[in-house]
Symmetry: C2
């Protein structure tokens, strides 16, 4: 048992579930063998508890580290902030700078609120939308966090199964929230129209991720925007995963969508805890008629890390790199699949590419992660690209991947079960179409 | 208009309410004149946008900075963490270290979850309690954040007026949460018993701050603990404000109270965003049957800042200093009041002392803040003590305070209205008895 697994064993006794984020559970990557914990990371390299070094092709910090781990410019800004004290009785002036910057990027928005995590930012957006409309129901499409307003979807049944989270247990949600959150299917206008017709007089908000593993069909986002306006619902775009990758700011800008609110986090601050809710004055002003306030939201690192990330994003035209790396990886996957005759389907926006094995996905991806780990790569079948990648690193990854695909093909040919050293990995969030 | 006020004017146009925390609003201290923003801070000194230096007797970062601003040991740990990358695809091993440390301090607890802000930590505790009991209602006493579960109290009426927040607007909360959160009064067993009798079959949790501006009456906390056990409710102690001051960990330890869960934040990490939910195995295990997960909770700074703060707290026996400073300040207030004949009432635990002017509190405290600011002190009538104080600094503060009290007395004697240069300050959270 490696040191990480030993520590995980201890962790599971004293931390429910073993860690703080479902998507970072060792079982989702490689049960019994995943290094699980890191000592340090730099660029796209990460060192485990035994000082083994890996290239990170497994998400780069749940897709946060678009500039790479421990980016020197972002860290310089953070270091300055903590030397000058990151918390004070007075406010951080950088919150005003960041608000201005985000409004400069998103011309349709007038006001900004800040939080620390993505889930609470979604929760704030919903509170404001409900306050602004004096209505209650939320139509949504996508993953929007752990809060009661969202999990309440599963009070009746496993409605979230149609979204990203299959078999989610939703114990602990008050029954009075039944039927307040209603999911609709991505790229399915009929699903959306049906829900709108059923609830149209009491819809406070329509919240959605603008892109999923596939892109929006022509007119899909536009129709939702139009409908929201028509029925007086607040249209909220959740950009926590999609923002700051294919373009500066939310990807809705690229699709020329004008929401009433948008939620930003993750890549915005290169992995430092920070999130933002932006919106039109009409809607955001209603925040003042509710009580939305938290001490830790005033802390300085959240603002300066985002300011430094955005500054560098602009300087580098970072979207070009993130897209280019993603396309290169997708192309490599496609070629490897073709030449080894191991069938996969490829999806995702270019900066968050993913593939599925068409047959025995979980077994094969477990074997893949196991063999790639030996070769010095953290892998999963969904990853986030980073500025820290380069052609050599990507080619190295693809060369090794090719060899493992070949092994998989060989075993398949000979009808031999893949030699897994631990259990098959668990299913992670599904990024369904 | 000072630079801070100019920036605030801009902020109010683009940030609803102007900032992220009600308690940091300039209007609560000194309307039109408060410096509002800080450039840097060190120890108990803080510099505004015009590089004016003040001693901070206005809360030390909403009572977070028990070691002082930009503490060198905590900052050293944070700097190391960010140099080694604060976010990764793998987990931070320090989360296990911190869980062990908190359990070592709180022997009654078996498991720990982490979050980033106090409000979300309370919300997590309530979710787990509801999941564990399969009941819904929460009896509470104190301030527990901005989330729906708590604000729903005000759906019927302004029930929170009996707690800390007077006249709170609670728009945007689903009506289905009506009557799920029920307040009881501190140190009032009848109030508590009445609510228990009314709802006893469906009480998931009893949540409370263990101390308020007064200490618990003999037997008060014990009776609540006993009742919770009897009716099968999860007893949750909210230590966000009270923890890590009069003792290492939650103050409930000092009162020999054994809750089922406790929530920690603020002073635990000297102001870095970090919070923890600790509890018995029975209760905490239920977290696995709900979905409570957030990317930013895995970030490293939250863990290492708390570990470093706790380590230094132990090394210094910090509680002695925090109590001693508080007692010295309370004694000074008392003497000043007596010798100037300006009546005040003094309350609060020693490390968070407060006073109220018995007549015209708001006018007088506004004048006090105005005059003390000129003399180089950020003040308010409630503060948090810090290791960075010393006798000289406290004496300097008290000497100046004495002179301002004398001025107040003079104006009062001559029946002259206090010469305020701006408006009277707004009322802040009331820490009611």
């Amino acid at each position: 048992m490696n040191k990480g697994q030993k520590l995980l064993k201890k962790a599971k006794k004293i931390i429910p579930g073993g860690n703080q984020l479902f998507s970072k559970r060792a079982e989702l990557f490689l049960p019994e063998l995943w290094p699980t914990y890191y000592k340090r990371a730099k660029g796209c390299e990460i060192w485990d508890m035994e000082n083994n070094k890996y290239f990170d092709f497994a998400g780069m910090g749940v897709t946060t580290a678009i500039l790479g781990y421990a980016d020197k410019d972002v860290n310089q800004a953070v270091t300055k902030a903590i030397n000058n004290a990151s918390m004070g009785t007075l406010n951080s002036y950088e919150e005003v700078d960041l608000a201005e910057e985000l409004l400069n990027i998103h011309k349709w928005a007038d006001q900004v609120k800040f939080a620390r995590t993505g889930g609470e930012a979604c929760s704030i957006a919903i509170r404001i939308a409900r306050a602004a409309t004096q209505k209650e129901k939320v139509l949504f499409c996508g993953y929007h966090g752990w809060h009661d307003w969202y999990l309440s979807t599963n009070i009746n049944s496993n409605s979230l199964d149609t979204q990203l989270l299959s078999g989610l247990k939703a114990k602990g949600i008050p029954r009075g929230l039944k039927n307040t959150a209603i999911p609709f299917e991505y790229n399915n206008l009929n699903s959306f129209k049906k829900k709108v017709n059923k609830y149209k007089n009491n819809i406070a908000a329509i919240m959605m991720e603008p892109v999923r593993s596939t892109l929006p069909k022509k007119g899909f986002l536009e129709f939702i925007q139009k409908t929201a306006k028509k029925i007086g619902a607040v249209f909220i775009i959740d950009e926590i995963t999609s923002g700051f990758r294919e373009n500066l700011g939310g990807i809705h800008l690229k699709y020329k969508i004008k929401p009433d609110m948008a939620v930003l986090s993750k890549a915005m601050s290169n992995g430092y805890p920070s999130s933002a809710i932006i919106g039109t004055r009409d809607v955001m002003d209603e925040a003042q008629d509710s009580f939305i306030s938290s001490c830790m939201w005033t802390e300085r690192i959240g603002f300066v890390s985002a300011l430094a990330t955005i500054k560098k994003f602009k300087r580098l035209s970072l979207q070009k790199k993130l897209i280019d790396h993603g396309q290169r990886i997708k192309k490599g996957w496609s070629q490897i699949s073709k030449s080894t005759d191991v069938d996969i389907s490829i999806a995702g926006i270019d900066p968050i590419p993913q593939f599925n094995f068409k047959k025995n996905h979980l077994e094969k991806s477990t074997y893949l992660n196991q063999e790639m780990l030996k070769r010095g790569y953290l892998t999963n079948t969904r990853l986030g690209t980073t500025y820290a990648y380069n052609s050599n690193i990507i080619n190295g990854y693809l060369d090794n991947l090719y060899e493992v695909f070949n092994q998989i093909k060989d075993f398949e040919k000979k009808n031999i079960k893949l030699p897994l050293k631990g259990k098959v990995r668990h299913e992670t969030f599904k990024r369904l179409v």
